[in-house]
């Protein structure tokens, strides 16, 4: 019952952390160069770097991290499984496929062609998931349907790589899929933000229903919540938010999986208490990882998705081993 005030404290702390990391992200450049480091560039160039290069990057870090963290927490609550993550509902796989289709067929109808393709892919995957398993009372059906959709989208993505007209096209696809928030513009932010915010708002309405669902579907219904409506809201919200984000950034794994686990020792196990803090912590984690990738001065810049997977995969293994030690 002590959740209320403690949770506000955690949220305030996380919000300060996000604000600080946001500022560092905007002010830090390649190799850790603090802006304005090169005074001789002049005011105009500095403004371009700040507002057209780094600001969209930091904003995308907040939006993408927030969406991934929040949706990860909601899906772990919905599926009552601590190993669930946003990729599970097929939105990332669908977005990757949609973007790859744009690359492959060279449908570059503008700067936003890839995000639009990705978003359409994510929505298609989501519609397929809901048609296959949305009304099933069994969460396992939902999980397996998500796995199948991801596998199929992955196979089609590989097929596109296999048949890529040129090594250049294949390379482009591969680099995009690694996931990054570098070199994106304000138009990308403007594209992703409305869907991400709408999706996140939808997911944030499900907290109490997810708490009730932790006692099973029948009990949730007897407590006045509709499991079917909750499933729809979480899947639709995740699809919108994660679909929009992934179609701009590429696939960034493990943030949605890991963030709720980092928070449980502080806010407890209630899905409702995890949602908002997970959005903030997701944003903080992604901003921090994105600052890390630009610190090395030499060599190609590391892709954000590569770094989150490098850190996240061992963490995932740690969770599985911990779960085996302590029981379910």
């Amino acid at each position: 019952m002590s959740g209320g005030r403690g949770q506000i404290g955690i949220c305030a702390l996380l919000a300060v952390l996000v604000a600080a990391l946001f500022a560092v992200s905007v002010l830090t450049g390649r190799g850790g160069a603090w802006l304005p480091a090169n005074q001789h560039l002049g005011r105009e160039v500095a403004d371009i770097i700040l507002f057209q290069v780094r600001l969209p990057r930091a904003l995308l870090g907040v939006i993408a991290g927030g969406a991934l963290g929040l949706c990860g927490a909601a899906l772990q609550g919905l599926l009552r499984n601590p190993l669930a993550e946003p990729g599970l509902v097929g939105a990332s796989g669908g977005a990757a496929l949609g973007a790859v289709v744009v690359f492959y067929f060279g449908l570059f109808g503008g700067a936003l062609a890839v995000p639009v393709g990705g978003f359409i892919g994510a929505m298609a995957a989501l519609a397929l998931l809901y048609a296959l398993a949305g009304r099933s009372p069994d969460v396992m059906t939902l999980i397996l349907a998500g796995v199948a959709i991801n596998a199929f989208a992955g196979a089609l993505t590989s097929l596109a790589l296999n048949l890529a007209p040129s090594p250049w096209a294949a390379l482009e696809i591969v680099f995009w899929m690694m996931g990054s928030i570098a070199d994106r513009g304000m138009n990308h932010v403007a594209f992703a933000a409305p869907f991400a915010v709408a999706g996140m708002a939808l997911v944030l309405t499900t907290g109490r229903a997810l708490d009730a669902l932790s006692l099973g579907r029948d009990t949730a219904r007897s407590l006045g919540f509709s499991p079917a409506a909750t499933t729809l809201r979480v899947i639709l919200g995740t699809g919108l938010a994660v679909g929009a984000v992934v179609s701009v950034t590429g696939v960034i794994g493990f943030v949605g999986l890991a963030v709720p686990h980092l928070l449980r020792p502080w806010v407890g196990h209630h899905p409702s208490r995890l949602l908002f803090p997970s959005a903030l912590a997701g944003a903080a984690v992604l901003l921090a990882a994105d600052i890390l990738v630009r610190l090395p001065l030499r060599g190609p810049e590391l892709k954000l998705g590569v770094v989150t997977a490098l850190i996240g995969a061992p963490f995932f293994l740690h969770l599985i081993l911990k779960a085996r030690r302590t029981g379910p």
Binding site: D211, S214, D218, T219, G268
Partner: protein, 260 residues
């Protein structure tokens, strides 16, 4: 004070009828035992009363059909404890019990003083106060059963439906739970409990409904329902009766040939 009335309840799974034409009426102050052999339709009937399965017929609360009651309002009026209710996260007992207050909490608000009071009351009723800071996944079977019952009691609903609350418990904990259910009923609620233990059903329930093959075979006070013919017809079991301190005891004793 809520009177529950069920009329012509039919529940079926596809073409398979689970409950056929069951009707009864029961009011506050009653611990109503729902008994019958495996597959008799006890759980299906209970789920219909809770509005958890589609059914034909009508269930009314104080004359109003449950279909017309809003979801949240119904959740405050009828509490339901599933058999072997899962707890998917390692909540503390107090956190688990507090989930029973969800139907009472307005959106975006923390627990009210009334919520805290109801949780404390439920913890005390089910005798799990001493466990309130323990994690649910560290409890024994008997402790867990009482913690889950406390969750359902915390709803403070005038109608409480419980499915096999004493399955897999030792005699001490079985009697403990039955006492809690009876006390909750006698404080002014209607409690409907699915039970398998005929001896405890007779000992603690005010009234029994005996189901067989989805139909109501007998309905009345325990000593009228648990007569040889009824038990034999429903369970294919012969019982022995005994009187101890003026109370009648019924004990299932041996199987009988279903054909006889």
């Amino acid at each position: 004070m809520t009177v529950l009335q069920a009329r012509g309840i039919n529940v079926s799974f596809g073409a398979m009828p689970a409950v056929t034409g069951v009707g009864f009426e029961a009011g506050p102050g009653t611990l109503l035992g729902l008994i019958g052999p495996n597959g008799a339709g006890k759980t299906s009937l209970l789920r219909a009363l809770a509005g958890l399965v589609p059914f034909a017929g009508t269930v009314t609360l104080d004359g109003g059909p449950i279909a017309g009651i809003g979801r949240r309002s119904l959740a405050r009026t009828v509490a339901y404890l599933a058999q072997g209710e899962p707890v998917h996260w390692p909540f503390t007992v107090r956190e688990l019990v507090a989930l029973g207050r969800l139907p009472h909490r307005p959106p975006f608000q923390g627990p009210s003083p009334a919520d805290r009071e109801a949780v404390a009351e439920a913890l005390a009723l089910a005798d799990v106060e001493a466990l309130s800071d323990r994690r649910v996944d560290t409890l024994s079977g008997g402790e867990r059963a009482r913690a889950l019952l406390a969750r359902a009691l915390a709803v403070k609903a005038p109608v409480l439906l419980v499915d096999e609350p004493i399955a897999a418990l030792d005699p001490y904990h079985q009697m403990h739970i039955m006492e809690v259910l009876r006390a909750y009923a006698e404080a002014g609620a209607l409690v409907v409990a699915v039970l398998h233990d005929l001896t405890l059903a007779e000992r603690f329930c005010h009234r029994l409904l005996l189901l067989r093959g989805g139909r109501l075979l007998a309905d009345g006070p325990p000593h009228e329902v648990l007569v040889d013919d009824n038990v034999r017809a429903a369970y294919h079991v012969a019982v022995i009766h005994h009187v101890h301190d003026g109370e009648r005891i019924t004990l299932p004793w041996r199987r009988v040939d279903p054909a006889s």
